[in-house]
């Protein structure tokens, strides 16, 4: 795809963060937008601002974990605009917690949004992207889809899965000759609400982890992330790394191979806040193993 102007673009998780920034950037470049988010309030704000920029906007509250709803949504977008050129599966939630403490429901929930949400969006829109004759699918993975970190097992699993799914699909599209380009995006630490709104297992100080995330990790703005995403679309890049941290760590992991894990455990003891590293068994309580915070965010 060489130009964004006049194209119909679908963005999930458009109510905040990278999704919102991507929506605005697409609007500035003349795209027509189908925006969704489970948070209708945030969605309304994004839609209103995108209209001010001048975009034709179709907004719809949507829970990406609801398969039927997502397929119905795809049909309604196609009916609204007649064609779908770009799909950006961006909706996601963060989660922090060690495997030993984590409940199955928590892991399933992260997989439901971060992995299945992307699969639903891909499956529901792929026929429309093929039919458009000029389609581009962007799935948002993460730096944590390239390397693992302690306490991020659920998020790592979902984001590695997104990468595997997306890279396989790109090859399928190339082999079949379908006119759909596929990009997997790996943002590093981006300044969004994701860490502040993340879930965690009981005992982990999420506020402290969020402060750590915002100060130490989130160095890239959502706006520059959005520009990188769109550059990836226009340049048909198979993989987009967003931020210097992502580029550096990706290179480091490739140099070190599996030995990066040893380095990270050493670093983790020095860099990360102590309470975010290990759950204090004293405050563990089976009944309080719940997701804390309203994790209605995108990443």
């Amino acid at each position: 795809m060489t130009s964004i102007a006049g194209k119909v673009a679908v963005v999930t998780g458009a109510g905040s963060g990278i999704g919102r920034a991507v929506a605005y950037e697409l609007a500035r470049r003349g795209a027509k937008l189908a925006l969704s988010d489970v948070d209708a309030g945030g969605l309304a704000e994004t839609a209103r601002h995108a209209r001010v920029i001048g975009a034709d906007v179709y907004e719809q509250p949507l829970d990406v974990t609801d398969r039927d709803e997502f397929h119905r949504y795809a049909e309604s977008v196609a009916a609204e605009f007649g064609v779908v050129n770009i799909v950006i599966n961006n909706a996601g939630v963060a989660f922090t917690g060690e495997v030993v403490d984590m409940g199955y429901e928590q892991l399933e929930r992260v997989m439901d949004v971060d992995f299945w949400g992307v699969v639903h969006g891909t499956k529901a829109f792929l026929p429309h992207l093929i039919a458009s004759g000029d389609g581009h699918l962007v799935n948002i993975s993460s730096l944590f889809g390239l390397l693992s970190m302690p306490s991020q097992s659920a998020y790592n699993a979902a984001k590695f899965a997104v990468r595997g799914f997306t890279e396989s699909l790109r090859q399928e599209m190339l082999l079949s000759g379908h006119p759909v380009q596929v990009t997997c995006v790996h943002p590093g630490g981006i300044k969004t609400a994701i860490a502040r709104n993340a879930g965690s297992v009981a005992g982990i100080n999420q506020t402290e982890f969020a402060a750590f995330f915002d100060k130490k990790l989130a160095k890239t703005s959502a706006e520059s992330a959005a520009k990188a995403v769109i550059k990836g679309i226009v340049g048909n890049q198979p993989r987009v790394l967003v931020g210097l941290d992502a580029k550096f760590l990706d290179a480091l992991v490739r140099v070190l191979g599996a030995r990066y894990q040893r380095l990270f455990t050493v670093l983790a003891t020095r860099v990360m806040p102590s309470s975010a590293k290990t759950a204090d068994p004293a405050t563990q309580d089976a009944a309080s193993q719940h997701v804390t915070g309203g994790d209605r965010v995108s990443a």
Binding site: T12, G13, G15, S36, D37, V38, D39, A40, G41, L43, A44, A47, Y58, E59, Q60, P61, L62, D63, V64, T65, D66, D68, E69, R72, E75, S76, A79, A91, G92, V93, R109, D112, V113, G117, G294, D295, R296, V297, S298
Partner: protein
């Protein structure tokens, strides 16, 4: 699916002039308004079930999943004299789709056979039954309505709030909150002063024109739920709607007034046929969804 706006205007203006005319009998007016619904189509996968709500017939409208945790009680317009759930099925369908709710479109009793407070009783009884009978959490039930249904929504919300059962939100489309006030304009594309005054009289019955249940503009507005108000810039009721929004805000209500320059009175009824109407109903649906989810802590994550 959408028709060009000039064509819709050209078709609507003479139709409304013909139908909403006090020189026709009530029966003829009702029959003709029903006919106007023939050209309207709800979205695909709209499911309509005929139910009884608060002792009145109602249409239970869903799109896709038939069970939802959110509900919207919809009160149709028509000057308290004409209009029906059937006529508003397309609007209800679009609203159900966007808001992810079950929309209950109520056939409340109409004047002149049933003057005030019949319609108000029907609306509040319907809301109570959604909670007590159908099991909805009152924090996840909103009330919306257009024109007379908008005024009725405010009156019902007042009574429910005072009874300790405040709806989650109010959606008011061209609301008629002071039926006793003579309009400054003689007519707009849809309604005319003569017809409006006649309808207001039919509904008032023996009540005073200042009765807050009849004209909520004159009542206490404090404590009403978050409210979205739509007004067309060219409509006869625009001044009244603007004053109502200002009064609501002065009473501390979280009220938002949206002015729609390319719409006309209650043009939302044309959702699916006129692009502006579809967009306006979407605006309402997204607002209601946000308010209906506001108190929910178990909400599924980002989408």
């Amino acid at each position: 699916m959408h028709l060009p706006r000039p064509i819709v205007v050209a078709l609507s203006a003479p139709t409304y002039r013909l139908v909403l005319n006090r020189r026709r009998s009530v029966a003829v007016q009702r029959r003709l308004t029903e006919l106007t619904a023939a050209g309207l189509r709800p979205p695909r996968e709209t499911h309509v079930e005929h139910v009884t709500l608060g002792g009145r017939p109602a249409e239970r409208v869903t799109v896709g999943a038939s069970q939802r945790p959110r509900a919207v009680l919809y009160l149709h317009g028509g000057g308290y004299v004409v209009g029906s759930a059937r006529m508003y099925r397309a609007l209800a369908g679009h609203l159900a789709r966007v808001s992810g709710s079950v929309v209950y479109s109520l056939d409340y009793r109409l004047a002149p056979e049933h003057p005030y407070p019949a319609a108000l009783e029907d609306a509040t009884t319907a809301f109570h039954e959604l909670v007590d009978g159908y099991g909805f959490d009152p924090h996840r039930v909103a009330i919306a309505g257009d024109s007379a249904g908008g005024g009725l929504a405010v009156a019902a919300a007042r009574m429910l709030t005072d009874a300790g059962r405040r709806p989650a939100a109010l959606g008011l489309l061209s609301p008629w909150t002071d039926p006793g006030e003579p309009a400054a304009m003689a007519r707009d594309l849809v309604i005319n002063r003569e017809w409006g005054t006649w309808c207001g009289d039919q509904y008032r019955g023996s009540a005073s024109a200042q009765d807050p249940g009849y004209a909520p503009m004159h009542g206490n507005l404090a404590g009403l739920p978050p409210t979205l108000i739509h007004a067309a810039t060219t409509e006869m009721l625009r001044d009244q709607i603007t004053r109502f929004a200002a009064r609501a805000r002065a009473a501390g209500v979280d009220a938002t007034l949206v002015e729609l320059p390319t719409m006309w009175h209650s043009a939302h009824v044309l959702a699916g046929l006129l692009r502006e109407s579809t967009v306006a109903v979407r605006d309402l649906g997204v607002f209601l969804r946000a308010r209906l989810d506001a108190g929910d802590r178990t909400l599924a994550p980002a989408g």
